[in-house]
Amino acid sequence: MLYVELLTQGLIYGCMYAIIAVGLTLVYGLLRILHVAHAGLFTLGAYLGLIVTNATGSLLLALPVSAICVGFVGMAIYRFCYQPILHKPPYVALIASIGLFIAMEEIFRLIFGPYGLTYTNAPLQSLVNILGMSLRMVDIVIVFGSVAMLGVLSWLAQRTRLGIAWRATVDDPQMAESFGVSVQKVRYLNFFIGSALAAVAGIFVSLLSNFAEPTMGGVPSYKALAIIVLGGLGNVTGTLIASVILGVVEAFGTIYVGDYLDRDAIAFACLILVLMIKPQGLFSRK
């Protein structure tokens, strides 16, 4: 029974990680940038979602509003921050992104205060009994929601013109361009979708703890990097699998190995181990 519970918790963590990490791997796959500021968009999404929910009482409204706004902010970040430095060595974009992330965290603290915000009436808190475990609606929504969203993403990538254009651009931008694909449009779309996903992840996380704070992007900023590397940089399926594996490893690890290593160390020990055996990650670039 305990193991089922731990496994379930691991699955929930994993799905949460997946939504955050997929956005990051999309950006990496396309542009080879370690987009640390992605975590800042995660936080922005959480704040926006919380504020809209508190103001209107409707989470259903808050989700798309936040996702769309953050999507646009993500596009703006690409246009003004990354596009001009695409041809520079990779550490330039990395540090620019880190600087941006620090600035974003500070802006959140200055505008919303250091103490964080809470929901006046947190939605999705009703309890559900499954297999003897007491879970909250938000736990269920995270798992099914992430599966649904990523399923839609996968369908988009495989079955629509847009998706094919995107995949072509990832594989060979010049070739894609010669076929009439607007590389610029694909990039914008990429950032929009990735950032929107980050926003949704942020809202889910804030629902889990009834709390949005300026530094909530801190852990995702580096955890998500570890996940996308574990999954194989640029590989969406790999990222998904890596997320769930990591979620489960952490769930069991914090209980049984917690006396020797803290949570982050467990995640990274796992990563280093895998990389030593498979230097390209679990799945190499598709």
Binding site: G99, E106, V229, D264, G281
Partner: protein
């Protein structure tokens, strides 16, 4: 110099040693390390334990360098298997692993409570600053020497194009390992000096944020440029003090500065300096 200026100068010099170490790895050998703080921390803990055991400080500092360098070689071996971005994340992982282990070692390493009561070197504040200055100067000279020497050529080749370097029979793995060993030993030395500076160390001093800070110092200064890294380090270390008038907006300013430098002057201060020199030279020349 009042005690305030003394303490500032001391921490600046310690950071310079720390950053020059990273410059060796990142700048000279083109390998991004996001876990440099782990070696800084290793040096600090080694010195703390040895100093508390009553050993004299030169021995302790040497010990710090040796242990940090040795661990650097181990990490360096790992770096041979992974490339570029994978390497960056692996080094990040090393940083977290180091921290994770140290935090839970209550017995020897003090765990979360850290180590305190570290005896002073006995040199007094000005004496200590002098020592740190001398060490920083030596590290600077060493870095410049490496750059100009045949080792520097090899490092450069590896940084620019690893595969071609291999074709030219440059023993790439050996040079990568050497860069790691030297760079991490320097970080260990800086960590040891830091330990004597604060006389109390806790795991939190050596986390991811510290790794990012030192990487920023190197990047803002200009990766690979010794004068650039020195100036970049001075600037970023003194920034909280200089921007005191910004009070609540200090960290925002820091983040924005970091972003702005990378966005508008990606070659760092060295690049800016280089182009100014270039312009001056150009004016005097053919015009």
């Amino acid at each position: 110099m009042g005690i305030y200026e003394l303490s500032l100068a001391t921490i600046v010099c310690i950071n310079i040693i720390f950053a020059l170490g990273l410059n060796l790895i990142t700048g000279y050998c083109g390998q991004i390390s996001l876990g440099h703080a782990a070696f800084f921390g290793t040096g600090a803990y080694v010195v703390a334990l040895m100093a508390k055991a009553g050993l004299p400080f030169p021995v302790n500092l040497a010990g710090a360098m040796l242990v940090a360098g040795a661990i650097g070689i181990i990490v360096g071996v790992a770096s041979l298997r992974v490339r570029h971005d994978f390497l960056a994340i692996t080094t990040m992982g090393v940083g977290f692993l180091f921290l994770g282990i140290v935090r839970q070692q209550d017995s020897v390493l003090g765990g979360e409570m850290g180590l305190s009561g570290i005896p002073s070197m006995g040199l007094g504040k000005p004496g200590f600053l002098l020592l740190v200055l001398v060490v920083a100067a030596l590290c600077t000279a060493f870095s410049v020497y490496i750059k100009k020497s045949w080792m520097g050529f090899a490092f450069d080749a590896v940084a620019t194009d690893e595969d071609t370097a291999r074709l030219l029979t440059v023993n790439v793995p050996a040079y990568k390992l050497t860069a790691f060993a030297l760079g991490t030993a320097m970080a260990g030395l800086a960590g040891g000096l830091y330990c004597y500076f604060t006389r109390f160390i806790m795991p939190d001093d050596f986390g991811f944020i510290t790794s990012i800070s030192v990487l920023s110092m190197v990047a803002v200064g200009g990766i690979g440029s010794v004068p650039g890294v020195i100036i970049g380090t001075m600037l970023l270390t003194l920034l909280p003090e200089m921007s005191e008038f910004l009070s609540d907006y200090k960290l925002l300013f820091y983040g924005t500065l970091l972003f702005a430098v990378m966005r508008f002057a990606p070659d760092g201060l060295a690049g800016v300096g280089g182009s100014i020199f270039g312009k001056l030279k150009g004016k005097g020349g053919l015009a």
